[in-house]
Symmetry: C2
Subunit: 197 residues, 2 copies
């Protein structure tokens, strides 16, 4: 509860979203997660829509830091590390249903141009990172010369979204999907896949 008011408010918005979901979220709910009044929040943001646009911008900044932080000795390891880190989000329990709230936000995108833009930016950024990892892997000889960066990007973006959706909708653990990613990297991209069969 100290430092930059914007940082405090973003952290409070995350907690409030976890607790209340997006549809029912009020400025008061967010204020309740800070030591500020609702009026103080309105000093910084015009209202829920404005605050929430800033929150999605904040998530995009966090994603930018996250998406480049993957580790490993080669491109295959870094790609698996990136994908599995996205599949291994904070647990969905009664105290924090962040993935559920994000699914509500995704369902709002057709009605809200600002939401749509932010979600597209994150999706584009993820696909760009996957393409760049596949290109690096081809260059260093970890991946086959004919590994397709665009197809891999679409695969990872689709599987990550699908895993998050199924986690919320049918209670499937997103981590179950890590093996699908590993196998894809191994067999579809990996230079050694042919030998290993």
């Amino acid at each position: 509860m100290s430092g930059d008011p914007a940082d405090d408010i973003m952290a409070a918005t995350y907690r409030a979203l976890c607790r209340h979901g997006y549809a029912d979220l009020t400025m008061q709910d967010i204020a309740d997660e800070t030591d500020r009044s609702k009026a103080a929040l309105h000093y910084h943001y015009d209202g829920k829509a404005d605050l929430f646009a800033a929150f999605l911008e904040h998530l995009a900044d966090e994603f930018e830091a996250h998406v480049t932080a993957h580790e490993g000795p080669d491109a295959a390891d870094r790609l698996v590390d990136l994908a599995t880190s996205l599949l291994d989000p904070p647990p969905q329990d009664d105290d924090c249903r962040f993935q559920t709230a994000m699914l509500e936000v995704k369902a709002q995108a057709p009605y809200d141009e600002t939401f749509r833009e932010r979600l597209v930016a994150v999706d584009d950024r993820l696909r760009r990172e996957v393409r760049s990892l596949v290109e690096a892997g081809v260059d260093e000889g970890t991946f086959r010369a004919d590994a397709d960066p665009e197809r891999a990007a679409r695969f990872v973006a689709t599987v990550v979204n699908g895993a998050h959706t199924r986690e919320v909708a049918v209670g499937r653990d997103a981590a179950d999907v890590e093996a699908l990613i590993e196998r894809y990297v191994d067999r579809e991209l990996g230079a050694a896949a042919g030998d290993r069969r």
Copy 2:
């Protein structure tokens, strides 16, 4: 607007959902899509939650008919036909945002046990069909002997959910993903994949 009242009301619910989304949907919106009054709807259903539970049951029945209707000379064709039929839903335009409404419903699942049960039933049914197609393909020699039915089922369920979510959230055409499914069937399951590389 003739025949079984339940059929009429289910069709009206589909149209109302396309038009208004789930969160804002009212019994009046549904009545407006029929030649019945709101009071007549209340004669058949206790309220929105009861009507909507019946609607999800109706969708599950339709899915049951759909999931077994795939065609093709062998299991590979039937599996691709099934997956692509799920990726090729009615267009998302201003007149019908059915996928958007379904994403809202999925985001409600953690709060609504009835929704959750219906969504799980559809997910289970899809995975069962994929498993059974993979087993048939192994038996008939279309797929490799070591093709893994459970892994294929998880792959198809995850990719279909991911494609639908990205279509709503970031405006990506779900049909883009058909090539991922075809390639999976070809390379991960297909007996000829090794020769073709």
